[in-house]
């Protein structure tokens, strides 16, 4: 069953009707509905094209958060072989909101790290909805260190509403953990590439996305705060999230213009959740391209490349 978003309601109605007709025909042998159903299908298809042609920033947020959107785990399963998950921060716990380990990408050994949101109630709770605690960032630091010492490229998959705002997380130094993770991203002398596959939520995302190359899926978002949070602060009304999303420039298209990201990966019509396999394949191709660009570069060149990239960000503004 498809999860429809509020703006897809007309689409849900048409697709529902087509489905009903077909169900009816299955129990009623002398009924021929194929022409009618096909008409509905084509109507649905053109509506889908229309809806996704120019998604508003807020609608993109909804798509980026869609529960059936492929998550980190799906990407690791499909794009990597020999995945060996590595756990723990060697200090306090293993944070299930962050998964990572050794794996092969096109046969090349790499370290892969990402936020995992979970796919059903049980796993969502286990993964804390992709909101990492300090242990998650400290695990990432440990894995990046490992990659750096053994010369393995690092691939990060970013998909988090943000770092977890909890009591224990603060007690154990959420800020410091995020700062150290960002610092580690800047220190390692191996290629580091990142893909924002869903939500790039604030510091929790930066901690993984301070990379040589950053790609974003077409309908993913990346921002300093959620639109709801921004609306609550600046509009004094969390319901003004549409306006906030508009003003914040959080879409892949705007971030490309601002020079925050290096490439935008197109999504199949109707969003990644409608065609997960196609999306995963496209992300795999983008990762391969980014790694290829960086291959053969010396550790110092990679570190310098990353520094220069971030020091230069923002000098142009949106109009450029």
């Amino acid at each position: 069953m498809t999860h429809y978003m509020d703006f897809e309601r007309p689409l849900a109605e048409i697709e529902g009707k087509a489905e009903e007709l077909r169900a009816l025909a299955r129990t009623n042998e002398d009924m021929d509905v194929s022409a009618e159903a096909a008409a509905l299908d084509s109507k649905a298809a053109s509506l889908l094209t229309e809806l996704y042609k120019s998604l508003t920033p807020w609608r993109k947020c909804q798509v980026a958060r869609h529960p059936e959107r492929p998550h980190c785990r799906d990407y690791i399963e499909a794009l990597f072989t020999d995945f060996v998950p590595l756990a723990g921060d060697r200090n306090f716990a293993d944070d299930h909101a962050v998964m990572g380990g050794l794996a092969r990408f096109n046969d090349q050994p790499v370290v892969v790290i990402g936020h995992e949101k979970g796919s059903d109630t049980k796993s969502r709770i286990d993964r804390n909805f992709g909101m990492a605690r300090p242990e998650g960032y400290r695990k990432a630091v440990r894995l990046m260190d490992l990659a750096g010492r053994f010369g393995l490229p690092v691939i990060t998959l970013v998909d988090t509403p943000g770092a977890y705002p909890g009591k224990g997380a603060e007690e154990r130094g959420q800020s410091e953990a995020i700062a150290r993770s960002t610092e580690k991203c800047l220190q390692i002398g191996v290629p580091l590439v990142s893909v924002i596959i869903g939500e790039g939520g604030s510091g929790g995302a930066v901690a993984f996305a301070t990379a040589n190359r950053v790609a974003m899926l077409e309908h993913s978002v990346y921002s300093v705060i959620t639109p709801e949070g921004c609306a609550a602060i600046l509009w004094k009304d969390a319901e003004k999230m549409r306006e906030a999303a508009e003003a914040m420039r959080l879409t892949a298209q705007d971030l490309r213009k601002l020079g925050v990201t290096d490439m935008t990966i197109p999504e199949p019509l109707g969003g990644a959740h409608r065609h997960p396999q196609e999306t995963i394949k496209a992300v795999g191709a983008a990762i391969a391209d980014m790694l290829k660009e960086l291959s053969g570069k010396k550790p110092k060149a990679l570190i310098d490349d990353r520094r220069r990239k971030f020091l230069e960000i923002g000098s142009k503004g949106i109009a450029a």
Partner: protein, 303 residues
Amino acid sequence: MNWITNYVRPRINSIFSRRETPDNLWTKCPECGTMLFHREVSENLNVCTNCDHHMHITPRARFEALFDGGIFTEVKVPASKPDPLQFRDQKKYPDRLKAAQKQTGESEAMLVACGEIGRTPIVAAAQDFSFMAGSMGMYVGNAIIAAAQEAVKLKRPLILFSAAGGARMQEGILSLMQMPRTTVAVQMLKEAGLPYIVVLTHPTTGGVTASYAMLGDVHIAEPNALICFAGPRVIEQTIREKLPEGFQRAEYLLDHGMLDRVTPRTQLRDELISITRMLLGQPPAIKGDLPAPKTDKTPPEAP
């Protein structure tokens, strides 16, 4: 404090709290409510003489009290592109900026300066909470990078006073990008083998805490400063319980291992001199040589 102040103050309070007091003469401590002579408070670095509450202090007033003889040279910060996102909420961002500039007399939320403390040459950077809550945008990032570059060029330590409500919302993703940008600045200092000391003042929150404010060689906080990633209100809404008294305050962070020290503002200068001189392998500062300058000027203070 002598018996006269102790004896006289309650009477003065009882007289003045009931009517309008001229702003330029009196300041009311937001913590204990005591009416304090403005001049007395500014001489005490905006620390309440009654309850030791640390009020906000502008970077300029702080630097005047920090540097020998109150003398410092400002380090030029490369201008950033104004309103990079063409952001507008209920007001236009440039209008908000102009209002903050008018109110504070400063161009942005961070001041960088060179000078000497106890005859020890340093570079200092201070965030201005009175300027749009000290929020971190492109300018603050540029200021920290400029401070680090100046420190590296002059081979001096950097002392950074943080104070921010978090990110400059109106610069959206670009404010977030200051986390890696300022981290690069900190790395420049570390690679040059220069001390980087962070003084966390009230409040230091969000992306500021989760980047340059938590990457110091030494972390000192002013008493009772709120220091956190997620603010208490956000956490209370998330976990739906009341947080304990003192949660995310400086003393709490000290207990949880995130800080080296909690030091009252009035003792900070001496402590910073001692620490930097030891880290630089220099002999102790001569006590009594060039005492901290007395500021008898009234710092521009928001009412």
